[in-house]
């Protein structure tokens, strides 16, 4: 070991460069290999979770509000807009399981990620069904007492 520290040539300019280059290559390799994961997937995941829960909550809140003023005889139609994409993916809002589970589900078609939002018992007295896909941004919730 003594020799290593004593020897000036051991850390010659060439060796210095090799070491630096190696470390830099190592770093950039890790970054390149994981770049998809780090720069695209993780942010996308976070954004999707956030926006899907937003969309689901919007639906659930709108249905709750609507329920509270439903006419005994008559109908309500209300238009709403949903974002075209959450993160980078298309999605579907599914209210068909609302009756049994009291839940509205927002599912991303490509990654299968889903976020569920509760609707607090309303579906038992007002049957809720239907799906809405993000391929169109304009949708309508419609209620008709005669149906």
């Amino acid at each position: 070991m003594k020799n290593l520290f004593k020897d000036e040539k051991g850390a010659s300019l060439l060796f210095e460069y090799i070491l630096v280059t190696l470390i830099c290559i190592g770093f950039f390799m890790t970054v390149t290999l994981n770049s998809n994961e780090i720069f695209i997937k993780t942010p996308n995941e976070a954004v999707m979770q956030d926006e899907m829960s937003d969309v689901g909550n919007m639906m659930s809140t709108m249905i709750t509000d609507m329920y509270l003023v439903l006419p005994p005889n008559g109908n309500i139609d209300t238009g709403y807009r949903i974002p075209e994409k959450v993160g980078r993916e298309n999605y579907v809002i599914n209210a068909n399981i609302a009756y049994t589970n009291q839940i509205i589900e927002v599912i991303s078609a490509s990654s299968g990620k889903n976020v569920r939002v509760t609707i607090g018992g309303i579906a038992r007295t007002m049957p809720i069904n239907g799906t809405a896909s993000s391929s169109s941004t304009q949708h309508v919730i419609s209620y008709d007492s005669t149906r």
Binding site: D7, E16, L19, V31, D54, Y67, L68, I103, T118, I122
Partner: protein, 324 residues
């Protein structure tokens, strides 16, 4: 070790590696950094709003195989939805009086078990069919204190933690707190037991277990210092502050009235009586002594509280707070 040249590369490498490691960490952090702050929060906002809306504006619903209705407080077993709004027509689904909270429904709500409340109000987060319950605190506050109904405080859930992200919403509601009876002073009799035209009397039949409010308007003022002296129940003087509180109405607002305070002409006086005074099942006689205010009618009949009584609704704040 005394060489001054050899180490420069290792030194530099160590420095740059440290920076790179820190940078790597930072990049990994960035996406979560800006979004995590609001991710769960907006969901909590919506949940709090929905819960408060359903509680304050909906009547709730129950059903079994043959029947259904909004009077779930009488049928807690078949209860499908919790709602506290009062409803006089249990067959129709909606109420004409949102924000008017029923006392019976509130009492029943306080008896429900924890899992029923979480399940029926949807106070949970559903991740792959597993339910993670939110922490919640639902309470009704009046004058910054929990409202007390039949000796129970209206409060469900855990105390609000100070170190967590949470979301709350407050609704103004009217809640049934007791009964009120309004009397026209011109129809009140002079007290036959301690004669004097400044004293009057009201019969109150027990047992009563809710707060009583007696309102007397149209007072006939006969002197310069019209005021209220004391209340006497079956011969015993009542204590102001503990047994009752007195108010007078000025310009549509209630102001506290002490036994020396002046009453305005044409004014209304209000007495709030402690329910504990009327626990026995017999008729109590409440004697009201005034000064410079005269009564003209003669007894009998002595007016009876329960014949005049109506439900008293008072404003209160319904507070719903939820957290993860």
């Amino acid at each position: 070790m005394f060489d001054k040249k050899g180490q420069i590369a290792i030194d530099f490498l160590l420095g740059i590696s440290l920076v790179l490691i820190a940078l790597g960490f930072t990049i990994q952090f960035i996406p979560g950094l800006f979004i995590s702050g609001s991710a769960g929060e907006s969901s909590l906002d919506y949940t709090a709003y929905r819960t408060a809306a359903v509680l304050a504006e909906d009547t709730g619903w129950w059903e079994n195989i043959t029947m259904n209705g909004t009077d779930w407080e009488n049928h807690p077993d078949g209860m499908l939805r919790i709602g506290l709004a009062a409803d006089d027509e249990p067959r129709s689904r909606l109420t004409d009086t949102p924000n008017l909270i029923s006392k019976k429904k509130t009492e029943q709500f306080l008896l429900l078990n924890e899992s029923t409340i979480i399940e029926k109000l949807g106070l949970y987060n559903d991740v792959e069919d597993t339910h993670f319950a939110y922490g919640y605190n639902i309470s009704i506050l009046k004058n910054d204190r929990y409202l007390v109904l039949n000796n129970t405080t209206v409060h469900r859930g855990l105390p609000v933690p100070g170190d967590r992200e949470m979301s709350g919403i407050t609704r103004i509601v009217l809640i049934e707190t007791g009964t009120v009876a309004s009397f026209d002073a011109k129809e009140l009799p002079v007290d036959p037991y301690s004669p004097g035209s400044e004293n009057t009397i009201i019969n109150i039949t027990g047992p009563l277990n809710y707060e009583l409010t007696i309102e007397i308007d149209n007072l006939n003022i006969s002197g310069v210092d019209p005021s209220f002296k004391k209340l006497v129940l079956d011969g015993t003087n009542l204590n102001e502050g503990t047994d009752y509180t007195a108010y007078k109405v000025i310009n549509g607002t209630e102001l506290p009235l002490t036994s020396t305070g002046k009453i305005d002409s044409g004014g209304t006086v209000i007495f709030r009586m402690d329910p504990g005074l009327f626990s026995g099942s017999h008729t109590y006689q409440l004697q009201i002594d005034m000064k410079d205010i005269t009564f003209t009618n003669t007894a009998p009949p002595i007016p009876e509280y329960s014949e005049q009584q109506e439900i008293l609704y008072e404003p209160a704040y319904l507070e719903v707070v939820v957290w993860q």
